[in-house]
Symmetry: C2
Subunit: 397 residues, 2 copies
């Protein structure tokens, strides 16, 4: 078995639901030793989220593969003491509680670094750990709304539109992952820990930078413009006989190829379309010309013709088509089969980071609640059977 | 001045436009030594992208702060030899050409590791470096279409919808950043380099995992459902008197708070809304009840009332509101002022990763084309003035 890139890094993972678990999922896939600490009895909220297979949540099983689970009551004084012992043996603590919760538990960064000055403390929350809104509840939809994404997604005259996936949670989680790895590199060289504070709203703002930049330098407020792009045209969706496709021919060379395929070379010299700014300005007319031509073709047929000529084009896949595509599902292994002890054989979403030397692997299905409590305590703290039983009696797990 | 986390890591950055430069921007903000290698005369394509300030592109200036630029003709044999010398002195090479381009230049990973076995080679492309579609041109819109995002963004009965920002480029770039840092951690411990291959399409698939999981385990193909979420309700946008807001009250406790604010405690026990699955099923009726109540309020007023009661809610910001918000722009410093030698004072989008020990900083505005060619060659390879002039004569820069 090949080594993985992050082997030997021990992470105490208090995160729940999506943003935090997405971060620790990426770290787990790359080999970090994730100790997922869950609330006794119920665990991560998503353990009951739909869809459910044989009583197990696919939402949970997908985000928590490659992790081990222990239960621990952080409000119990003995549970808290045990957590502090684990902190001494760990490199990273991750949490995505509302800011202030860890401090009220007596487990804020300032407390943890007292027992382990090298600890890296990573947190992801709606608005971050400082600033006037830091105590507001933060959810993905709130960050999509306040980060400006919804105002620029959708159709002219239509409603502001949420991304079809939890964009803010995913961007927040992966941004925290970038920060944790950078802090670990710094720690390997200096021995020093630190706190990494990521907000969902900030993460959405970062993802929007090209759009926001338009306002920052020109004063124009970007609006909803459907599927076209502010910076180039034609770069949009187009109706064919049976369905829509996308075409991205946003520079002069690609537009020339497109005009040749359309057998309309005169468009290349047409003053309405001669440069990219002209094509952006006259996008409605150009789209009309293109769709008049495209409506003679089936979408699958014309994508092939465009690609063969060197013009970027693609079908708009439904989710089932994504999961069955020979490139995405086949060669790129973006869906992987795992065997879960209760749910049985199932497919999860794979990892997008393809590493030649230390490839990610799916060595463990998601854990049952508290499945590894005893194993992790023995392995990390050398706790004996007797000590474990005593802690059970004290109601720690 | 505080040290930054990635100081001392030298990265040869051949990337252009968005996905690659977003990756190296994150690394540069955290202190990596980015040597941006640009094509002589024209440089990165985005140097002419709108919006333009005093002849300088804000698109370029935003994504390339904290980097230094040298020009280099990689088709010139002396230019190629110089690049190989730089590879020997570097930790990482980044590129986002179409797969095969680097190999045709004689600069593929297999060639580079001959001269520096520890080199980390990071690439981001539309479909990745292997698989049946690897040679297809890949742009953001194509990855949004084929990754399934467009099919699940938008309104019932409406068109598949592109995210208002270049989601696939941003996710691809940040995923590469996660891979590069992990590979560097592995290199610090083993001395070994490797290739990190990220595809835009794979990155979109990873971001969609909760949605895709529905199909993978239940066989139901998720569709466009507007602003609501598959997993909970009420978690949606709602019309008030003047504008729409978002409310995220997706569990029983928060729904209870919402019903109290609405002064409709009877809804808590209403069999249509008693559990989260019931509320998802009867979302149309619940939205109607909520909007009948909300249309008595101005959006700003009711967001305050809801937040005061502990119910997650937010305005839907236009881009100008994002840039002027006291939390986002103020406390969280998500927009920073820099002084560019030609564009003058301007605002850029900040960095979302807030690090307590090694904070990111904005020490340099984006470089002019080739501004640091001589400086970088002197610093990295110890090239003399005479040698530099000779290379100029050979047309290398």
């Amino acid at each position: 078995m090949k080594k993985k890139a992050l082997e030997g890094i021990t992470i105490l993972d208090l995160t729940r639901v999506l943003a935090g678990p997405y971060c620790s999922m990426l770290l787990a896939d790359m080999g970090a030793n994730i100790i997922k600490i869950e609330r006794p009895k119920t665990g991560d909220d998503t353990r009951v989220y739909e869809p459910i297979v044989n009583g197990e949540s696919a939402y949970y099983m997908n985000l928590n593969r490659n992790k081990r689970s222990m239960t621990l009551d952080l409000k119990n004084p003995d549970g808290k003491a045990l957590f502090m012992e684990l902190v001494k043996k760990s490199d990273v603590v991750l949490e995505n509680y509302r800011p202030g919760v860890m401090e009220r538990l007596g487990l804020g960064y300032e407390m943890l670094k007292e027992v382990n000055p090298g600890i890296i403390y990573g947190c992801v929350s709606g608005f971050g750990h400082y600033g006037p809104y830091s105590n507001r509840p933060g959810y993905d939809i709130i960050a999509q709304a306040m980060g400006g994404l919804m105002s620029t997604t959708g159709w002219p005259g239509g409603e502001p539109t949420r991304s079809g996936t939890a964009f803010a949670d995913v961007m927040g989680g992966i941004s925290l992952c970038v920060g944790i790895e950078a802090a670990y590199i710094n720690k390997l060289r200096t021995g020093e820990g630190q706190k990494i504070d990521v907000a969902l709203v900030d993460s959405v703002v970062s993802a929007l930078e090209i759009i926001t930049q338009i306002y920052l330098v020109s004063g124009r407020v970007p609006q909803r413009i459907g599927n076209r792009y502010e910076a180039s045209y034609p770069y949009d969706s187009f109706h064919c006989k049976d369905a829509s496709i996308v075409i991205g021919a946003g520079n002069d060379k690609l537009f020339g190829i497109l005009c040749d395929v359309m057998q309309m070379p005169e468009l290349i010299e047409d003053p309405r379309f001669i440069s990219n700014p002209d094509r952006i300005k006259n996008n409605v007319e150009l789209k009309k010309i293109m769709e008049t031509w495209l409506c003679n073709y089936q979408s699958e047929e014309i994508v092939e013709i465009l690609l063969a000529a060197g013009c970027p084009a693609a079908p708009i896949y439904d989710i089932d088509q994504v999961t069955e595509d020979p490139h995405i599902a086949g060669a790129r292994e973006m869906f992987v089969e795992v065997e879960h002890p209760i749910a049985g054989k199932m497919r999860l979403t794979g990892n997008q980071i393809k590493m030649s030397g230390t490839p990610v692997a799916f060595d463990r299905p998601a854990p049952l609640l508290g499945q590894h409590t005893k194993e992790l305590l023995q392995e990390t703290l050398g706790i004996s059977d007797g000590e474990y039983q005593e802690l059970v009696t004290k109601g720690v797990f």
